[in-house]
């Protein structure tokens, strides 16, 4: 699946929920099922600090593919982090740099990414693109 197909899949998953409570409960579930983050990478280098919640993002690059693992101290943030990892991880730098991210808006979580909510998510998305740009220039 390409990035847009995954985004469409996420939008479809969220479409089944009737109200905000169910959407957030699903996010909480996603947050809980996020792959464990290697504690050794919980360092300032990989920390994206928000005022409200913290996010750690660790990239690795092998055979032209970027893999991201991530973590947050808040569970709902972690759920959104899980979605971003699902969309961006396992991609080539070119795919990430060229991606148009629309699923957040479509599933009604845009407020969680607004610059005034300093929860680290917007910074995380930026950081993912920056890593992709850096790896791309190395290729």
């Amino acid at each position: 699946m390409n990035i847009n197909e995954i985004q469409d899949q996420i939008v479809e998953e969220f479409a089944q929920f009737g109200d905000w409570m169910e959407r957030y409960e699903y996010l909480i579930d996603l947050g809980r099922s996020l792959a464990p983050f290697d504690e050794r990478h919980k360092t300032p280098e990989y920390l994206i600090e928000g005022c409200q919640s913290k996010v750690w993002l660790y990239p690795s690059f092998e055979n032209g593919i970027i893999t991201f693992s991530a973590e947050s101290d808040a569970l709902i943030t972690r759920g959104i982090v899980a979605l971003l990892v699902r969309v961006f991880s396992g991609r080539t730098p070119a795919e990430i740099v060229g991606a148009n991210i629309y699923f957040i808006e479509k599933i009604g979580l845009r407020e969680n990414l607004s610059p005034t909510r300093s929860n680290g998510l917007l910074a995380m998305m930026k950081q993912m693109r920056l890593y992709a740009l850096a790896y791309k220039s190395k290729q």
């Binding site: 957030y24 409960e25 409200q52 919640s53 913290k54 101290d73 808040a74 709902i76 969680n112």
Partner: protein, 408 residues
């Protein structure tokens, strides 16, 4: 003590309280961050721009005279509200932060040198930490911090031992914005004065919860913001004893703060104008005066009593939730309650409460050292005003219970 109006009448004075948030009736419990404005304040601001707008103290013309009179009347309202001795001791600023920065600069210029000490407390808002740190850096002075107990009570014995012959000023908060503790500022001032040390009291969270009498407290400076006391934002007050203010150099130069300007030498205007450079926020000041009049008419002691009832309700309701911790259990508190339910992150809880229409503050509340003291990265703060209701407190408690279920 009874409020001069019924709760229905009071709520109809605040149009924003009928807002729907995410389709639910808004429950505004973030009054510590900013308070809502009564119609009386909103309409005076509009009326000023429609009928009485001209620069103050500048023209001899009709409009300038009228607005200057109202600006000075607002100054008198502030003076009476905090029981200062004279109107020249009331300086209008942009807010608490601006007032503290002004004193940290002016006082620092005049009185602080290398090796001197400044005493603050461990429960200060960043606004009463950073300006003093900046001063210490400029002057190679040292910052000393009064510790506080688990309950959120300042350690006065430690305070006494921190005062030394190198202490130049003490800057403490009247009320903690996180813990709600009302500090014994009168005692703190008396102790400092015994050694000839002046005291600045940060009244950002003190001014809106009952009577403040700067003459009785005997503090040398008292600062607060208009927007936290039902007035407009961008206006604040710096009260200072005249004899001290007269000694301090101005912190900003510009129009209206001068007596005579030549390129060789400028002489400064008298108080309070010496500290009001440039065109002041006169509409804000008049709006603030209106807000203070509103509170006085309602009954300031009745407001404080009403808020204590709400605090007691919130404390009882939230304490009954299993695993919930309250930060700040001092015997003397205002209507501010900070808490964390179980191991749930404050941001998660805040987001769910928001969806229920409940506005609370989450995070460090600009008091990171305080959070560190408790070993947490932040918490949730509900801050009540007299216009909140018992039903809203019940909804908060119910909402927090729901949050604990969702994250169980």
């Amino acid at each position: 003590m009874k409020l001069a109006k019924s709760i229905e009448e009071i709520r109809s004075d605040f149009p924003i309280l009928s807002t729907k948030a995410h389709g639910k009736p808004l429950i505004y419990l973030d009054n510590g961050a900013t308070t809502q404005k009564p119609l009386q304040v909103i309409s005076v601001m509009e009326e000023l721009y429609r009928t009485t707008n001209a620069n103050v103290h500048r023209g001899v013309h009709y409009l300038s005279d009228r607005v200057s009179d109202r600006y000075e009347a607002a100054r008198e309202t502030v003076r009476a509200f905090i029981n200062a001795r004279s109107r020249e001791e009331i300086i209008f600023t942009a807010g608490t932060t601006a007032s503290i920065n002004a004193i940290a600069f002016s006082f620092g210029e005049r009185y602080v040198g290398e090796g001197d000490e400044i005493v603050i407390s461990g429960m200060e808002h960043h606004a009463n930490i950073v300006p003093w740190q900046m001063l210490c850096e400029r002057r190679k002075a040292r910052l000393k911090v009064i510790p506080f107990s688990e309950e959120g009570v300042l350690d006065l014995e430690a305070y006494r031992s921190l005062l030394s012959e190198r202490t130049r000023i003490v800057a403490v908060t009247h009320v903690s914005n996180v813990l709600g503790t009302v500090n014994p500022v009168k005692e703190i001032v008396a102790e400092a004065h015994r050694q000839g040390i002046p005291v600045l009291v940060d009244g950002a969270q003190g001014i809106q919860h009952g009577l403040v009498d700067v003459t009785d407290i005997d503090c040398d400076f008292y600062v607060f913001s208009g927007h936290k006391v039902y007035g407009p934002n961008g206006i604040g007050v710096l009260y200072g004893k005249a004899e001290l203010l007269n000694e301090l150099p101005p912190y900003q130069g510009g129009g209206d703060m001068v007596a005579n300007v030549t390129f060789e030498k400028t002489t400064y205007n008298v108080l309070p104008f010496k500290f009001e450079a440039g065109t002041t926020n006169f509409t804000g000041a008049i709006g603030l005066g209106t807000a203070l009049d509103y509170l006085s008419a309602l009954g300031r002691e009745a407001v404080a009593e009403r808020e204590q009832v709400l605090l007691a309700g919130a404390t009882a309701g939230l304490s009954a939730i299993e695993g919930l911790r309250i930060y700040g259990t001092a015997p003397h508190k205002v209507s501010v309650i900070s808490f964390l339910p179980g191991q749930i992150h404050q941001y998660d809880a805040g987001m769910i409460l928001d969806k229920m229409g409940i506005a609370v503050r989450t995070g460090t509340h600009c008091a990171q050292p305080l959070m560190e003291r408790y070993g947490i990265t932040g918490n949730i703060r509900a801050s009540m005003a007299f216009y909140n209701t018992e039903e809203e407190i019940e909804a908060l408690v119910k909402g927090v219970k729901k949050v604990t279920e969702m994250f169980a």
